[in-house]
């Protein structure tokens, strides 16, 4: 069957247009020389971007978000890699149950996770809210994704490669360093990137767990209420969209490398 320009193809084009259309209005209006996001366009300007660097609270929120996201990304991957090894390579009693529990954050609404963490931190442990509490919340939502990416990578290669390494004389650590880690590397990198993106974009949990120092999405949310700050918000939003999109593309390209085509669709 050769590709046909039929109704289905047009449907796919319309689908992509619907998917991207609303989001792309943000960068469009961010370059519009007007304080309102309205048609007709008034002319090209970069002035909405120029003011951003001088916005101290925005820059601080950006710094906070980057700090948290880097920490979460490293922690989620560091925890998920040994766990993925255990779940794919070792005999674990109640493996299905354990895996199900680790994947639970995927089905619990983030608002419930947010308030649950809030309850235990404030009412039971009496901890002050800070970037640490935000990071803990992000870790919970990022870990299942890191685990899923790494498990699918580890399941994707022949377990006899590791047996062969042992048979040829390597000990447990030697096999990990010379065979398992190099082969899992694309998975490790995409786990790092994915966890970073999840943390960097996460809003609801941060909204509940943030202390005096905002993350960027929380800052952004507070700006959305003020119509007069719309152009600056649009500029910031456009940059976030652009940055996240780049990271996602990078993650996906790395993750798909070496995966057989029929598995490329899943997590």
């Amino acid at each position: 069957m050769s590709p046909r320009r039929d109704a289905l193809t047009w449907y796919a084009v319309a689908f992509v247009a619907f998917l991207y259309g609303p989001v792309l209005l943000m960068p469009l209006f961010s370059f519009n020389d007007s304080n309102f996001a309205t048609f007709p366009l008034a002319g090209f300007t970069t002035r909405h971007y120029a003011g951003m660097a001088a916005n101290i609270s925005m820059m601080e929120a950006l710094r906070n978000s980057l700090t948290v996201a880097l920490g979460v990304s490293a922690a989620a991957t560091a925890l998920a890699l040994p766990a993925a090894l255990a779940l794919t390579r070792h005999r674990i009693p109640g493996r299905a149950l354990v895996t199900g529990f680790m994947m639970l954050p995927l089905v619990v609404p983030s608002i419930v996770l947010g308030v649950a963490l809030l309850v235990i931190l404030i009412r039971i442990l009496g901890v002050q809210l800070s970037l640490w509490t935000v990071a803990a919340g992000h870790l919970v939502v990022a870990l299942p994704f890191s685990l899923a990416v790494l498990m699918s990578r580890l399941e994707g290669f022949d377990p006899s490669l590791e047996e062969a390494s042992g048979d040829l004389g390597a000990g447990g650590f030697g096999t990990f360093r010379r065979v398992t880690l190099p082969l899992a590397l694309p998975g490790v990198i995409s786990s790092l990137l994915l966890a970073f993106i999840i943390s960097f974009d996460e809003f609801v949990i941060s909204f509940f767990l943030t202390g005096t120092r905002n993350t960027l999405p929380v800052f952004l949310f507070s700006q959305l209420r003020f119509p007069n700050r719309l152009p600056g918000t649009l500029a910031l939003g456009s940059l976030i969209l652009f940055g996240s999109a780049l990271l996602v593309i990078l993650t996906e390209v790395i993750r798909r490398r070496g995966l057989p085509a029929d598995r490329a669709g899943g997590l």
């Binding site: 609303p22 090894l85 009412r123 447990g172 976030i240 996906e252």
Partner: protein
């Protein structure tokens, strides 16, 4: 391999999840059995919060449905959220299915590029994607200003934003790309010779779609349905940004109970009731469609 190695490798992640997921959810359950008295929390065990959610009272009418509760807000919002979420989920599946079909059966080269194209929006700021609908549908938004500029309307239409329909459109938009993937995977798994065999036995294109493709895609379609339905019921961002007062959902109530209304135990009880209702609906749904048999049949 040593018998202890597996558990030892798993332990750190497991303990973190136990501390940061199981313990907080446990605490939430515990809190739901306590009560708020003024600024204090009364730690005596009681079912009062749950009773309050179902306590009978004079009926409150919502969309022609009577809610005979003394405190009808949680019940109404829960029903409303489920209805909105189900509508959005149905829309998502209807919109995503043909796209997944296109991806599985029509795209030959550059499949990975298509998948990335669909994946990117899902991973980029949910907040911003929802906010973009405010720009589209707002009183001073793109649609209104565009139509005015074209001379179609004279005054901005004020019914576009801040209502349940806006929430459902936005939810649909947020989740369609995500739903494509599981459906695509189950379509991709279908042995192409099955379709050739069906054609050989006399099935037309539509008959093949109905008798082969659709049934065998069910595992992915059902998975997509759940992946969309479960998180959207408790969504907070979308109703807050585009729902206005008419479009609130149960997530907004939970947030308010924990903050402005300062009744965390009630908020905990509402969260738990919401999760139990979702879980019960999911189980009933899976039982009704014969999920186990379906998965076994499709070799998933």
């Amino acid at each position: 391999m040593r018998r202890t190695a597996g558990p030892a490798l798993l332990a750190p992640a497991f303990l973190v999840m136990a501390a940061a997921l199981a313990a907080p959810l446990g605490a939430l359950v515990l809190l739901s059995f306590w009560t708020q008295t003024g600024f204090e929390i009364d730690r005596t065990f009681t079912l009062a919060n749950y009773w309050r959610i179902v306590e009978p009272g004079p009926p409150t009418w919502w969309n022609g449905i009577p809610f005979p509760f003394a405190y009808p807000v949680p019940a109404i919002l829960l029903v409303k959220s489920l209805a909105m979420s189900l509508t959005a989920t149905a829309a998502v599946i209807l919109v995503a299915w043909p796209m997944a079909y296109f991806l599985a059966f029509r795209v030959r080269r550059g499949k990975a590029a298509w998948i990335i194209l669909l994946t990117v929006p899902f991973w980029t700021s949910y907040l911003l994607r929802v906010f973009s609908w405010k720009i589209v549908l707002g009183y001073n938004g793109a649609v209104n200003s565009g139509l005015i500029a074209l001379g179609v309307i004279g005054e901005p239409l004020d019914f576009l934003l801040y209502n349940p329909v806006a929430v459902m459109i936005t939810l649909t938009h947020s989740w369609i790309a995500f739903a494509v993937l599981p459906i695509y995977v189950s379509l991709e798994k279908i042995d192409r010779s099955l379709l050739e065999a069906a054609a050989d036995l006399g099935d037309s294109r539509w008959a093949r779609l109905r008798r082969i493709t659709l049934p065998l895609s069910m595992p992915g379609t059902v998975a997509a349905t759940l992946l969309v339905f479960i998180p959207t019921v408790g969504d907070y961002v979308t109703p807050t940004l585009v729902g206005g007062t008419q479009g609130t959902m149960i997530g907004s109530l939970v947030q308010q109970l924990f903050t402005r209304q300062d009744n965390a135990p009630m908020g905990a009880a509402v969260s738990i009731v919401m999760m139990l209702v979702i879980a019960a609906l999911v189980l009933v749904f899976l039982r009704a469609i014969g999920w186990r048999r379906m998965r076994a049949r499709a070799g998933a």
